[in-house]
Amino acid sequence: MADTRPTASIEAVESGLAAQGYIASRQIATAVYLSQQIEKPILVEGPAGVGKTELAKAIAAWRGLKMIRLQCYEGLDEAKALYEWKYAKQLLYTQILKDKLGEVLGGAQTLAAALDQLHTFGDVFFSKEFVEPRPLLQALEQPAGCVLLIDEIDKSDAEFESLLLEILSDFQVTIPELGTVSAVAPPTVILTSNSERDLGDALKRRCLHLHIGFPEQKLEERIVESRVPGISQTLRKQMVGFIHEIRSLDLKKLPSVSEAIDWARVLVLLQASELDTEIVKDTLNVLLKYEADIEAATPQISSFIAKASRQGVFS
């Protein structure tokens, strides 16, 4: 009985994500299940547009949690990611303090007495009230937990990775003036990367590593079906088959799932019932984003359509 339980839970994850319109492969579902069970972040790698960011959104929607997103870029630092002091308010506070200084010190006669009075006075200059929480700190403060999406971590600097290590392994951050802030409820952390640069081993060690590649034909058909419900079955099979043929070419940027969905929407909008050379030629710019790629693919269009339709007959 104990053996059947995890399989069932993984299926539950799969169907839960499917209810949010995210068709997950079993490997993705296993990763989500495990990250929940052993409380580890997931590092998702893969080409652009295969649904790395969508995964985080789907998890958040499925569990009914708030999603906090931190978009990484070069030069992102702790002031924008973690916390910042509210300088203007702190400045105002010192102004007020200056006005009230007489009251605070209470007419102390000597300097030593005045200093004693000052020490007993509670210092609020560096306190929670003056901290402006940024996404990472916000994520820790959510009482019900949340989904923290750290998007495109490979775009950030190597130093920023080190900043993340504490939050990834122990779900806590340290603010020098205040001490350590631990998570109220451990957030589900998803990191995404386009493998633009290799991430450090220390970061990778703290995460489950999930690679999402281009989906298999059947899976991609299901994805298109769930995202673009208006599309007919034959057209869906044809277009997914066609995209799979395109991916076998040596292109600068291969069309990924998001392009497939866009293309399906375009085809529905143009009320196409099946693929033909004309319509593919006209809409190829939805799939391919480089002029050179379009040029390379154009001569192959008719043979690809033929192949894709033949596949449709057998499957």
Binding site: A2, D3, T4, R5, P6, T7, I10, R26, Q27, T30, A31, Y33, L34, Q37, I38, K40, E45, E74, Y87, A88, D157, A158, E159, R197, D198, D201, K204, R205, L208, H209, L210, H211
Partner: protein, 458 residues
């Protein structure tokens, strides 16, 4: 089962997946959650927790399939202890009794191994092999040269000595039985050999590769055999990847402590110049600019080939590479190298300038005439060649001017220092104008030379 997991981690390390203790703990916790029932889920679990790159995922997947394709020794150990008990306390006496009762049957005095072979109990035999492998610590196997010794150890542990005695004894008494035993022994040898080979595949792959690469790294590039060229290319690609990882760190480094006054004032104009936000000075580091002049005549050609391959696979680290090849005269080859595969590119370069007798003077003159402007004060110029100019005018004055224009001038010579200056070698004359001169005959020296060049820009 825990024991099995540890063996799997070891096999994974053998397959080149770096498994740290922390990761193995994670994997164990994860496995505790998913259980062993569904092999596919188990596989996914390992791929998620242990492998951290696409390559690692692939090799770990292969390793998983290989590892779990063999019977699980743990289970068998349990059976084994049972069968051991049987054979010691139950089977032997019963056999003896049986023998006594039959009044000296043929299998009367043979050892336990012979009995096992005669009874053709496959399960028992494979169990015995697994057990003997454990005793011989087969998972420690690293190199293919150790195959023989491990086979001997396993067979010894199984009691082959007794079996041989039995065969000797039976040849006179019962030749038919001896023959059967001999045949069974041959079969057993084969099985043990397969077991050891599989173990080598599981645990020793990385070490074997390391050993081969180590030998290859120290072999003179000019004299490697044609069949090794492909391996050497792979090795060069690995070196390039290593250099890329080491040197492609971000080029901007924050220099905390130096306030950028102008930017700070501008940024805080909204607060009337009160510096709420500070801006700090940043230091930019240049990426290397390289101009490479490669001799492609005679024995230097192959070294140049590998050098060009290495330099041109450093895209992320090196900003700008311009390569020139020469023997009798000099041409630019950057475009050929960028657009074609290494084999084709080298073929084309060779057909254009290769196979002539080298003329350094003329080639330098070509360079000065057409491409001198490619050299800026940030450029490192690398000349790769043996400096043997067939007694023609060496034109060292051009090399001096190149040296003056550039940041550094590095000469890599595939010949040993001992022969520099002998015969038609102009090396000592050229060396005076070079920032660095080094020997560069093996992949290791090549790596160090390129690494040093890139490091000067950090």
């Amino acid at each position: 089962m825990r024991e099995n997991l540890h063996r799997f981690f070891r096999a994974a390390r053998g397959a080149g997946v770096r498994v740290s203790p922390a990761e193995s703990i994670d994997a164990m916790r994860a496995v505790a959650q998913v259980g062993f029932a569904d092999r596919d889920i188990l596989r996914d679990t390992f791929l998620l927790t242990l492998a951290k790159t696409q390559d690692e995922k692939r090799s770990l997947g292969e390793c998983f399939d290989l590892f779990f394709s063999q019977p699980e020794p743990q289970q068998e150990n349990a059976e084994q202890s049972k069968t051991d008990d049987n054979s010691e306390s139950g089977a032997n006496p019963s056999a003896d009794e049986h023998g006594d009762a039959a009044g000296g049957a043929a299998s009367e005095n043979v050892g336990p191994l012979a009995q096992m072979l005669l009874s053709q109990d496959r399960a028992a035999i494979s169990t015995a092999i697994a057990n003997a492998s454990g005793a011989a610590s087969l998972p420690d196997i690293r190199y293919f040269t150790q195959r023989g010794i491990f086979q001997t150890r396993i067979l010894d542990a199984m009691g082959i000595q007794r079996l041989r005695d039995d065969i000797d004894e039976q040849t006179t008494r019962n030749p038919a039985l001896a023959e059967r035993l001999q045949e069974a022994l041959n079969g057993l040898r084969g099985t043990v050999r397969d077991t050891v080979s599989q173990a080598l595949l599981l645990y020793g792959r990385e070490e074997t590769e390391n050993l081969r690469n180590e030998i290859l790294r120290n072999a003179p590039l000019a004299r490697i055999e044609p069949r090794q060229v492909e391996q050497m290319r792979t090795l060069i690609r690995q070196i390039a990847r290593r250099l890329r990882e080491r040197y492609s760190k971000p080029r901007k480094r924050q220099r905390r402590g130096h306030l950028d006054v102008r930017r700070t004032l501008r940024r805080n104009a909204a607060w009337g110049g009160v510096p709420f936000l500070t801006a700090w000075k940043r230091k930019h580091r240049d990426r290397p600019k390289i101009v490479a002049l490669c001799d492609v005549s005679g024995s230097v050609a192959r070294v140049s080939d590998f050098f060009l391959l290495l330099i041109h696979s450093l895209h992320e680290v090196v900003d700008d590479v311009r390569s020139f090849a020469f023997s009798g005269h000099l041409i630019e080859v950057s475009d050929i190298l960028e657009s074609k595969s290494p084999e084709e590119a080298m073929k084309e370069i060779m057909s254009k300038v290769g196979f002539g007798s080298s003329d350094y003077g003329n080639s330098f003159a070509d360079f000065e005439h057409n491409w001198m402007s490619a050299i800026t004060p940030q450029t490192t110029v690398i000349v790769l060649g043996d400096a043997r100019s067939n007694n023609l005018d060496p034109r060292a004055d051009i090399l001096r001017r190149i040296g003056e224009r550039s940041k550094r001038l590095v000469w890599l010579n595939p010949e040993g220092r001992m022969v520099w200056g002998f015969g038609d070698s102009e090396m000592p004359r050229y060396a005076t104008f070079c920032t660095v001169v080094r020997q560069c005959a093996t992949a290791r020296q090549l790596e160090r030379a390129v690494s040093d060049i890139v490091a000067t820009y950090q």
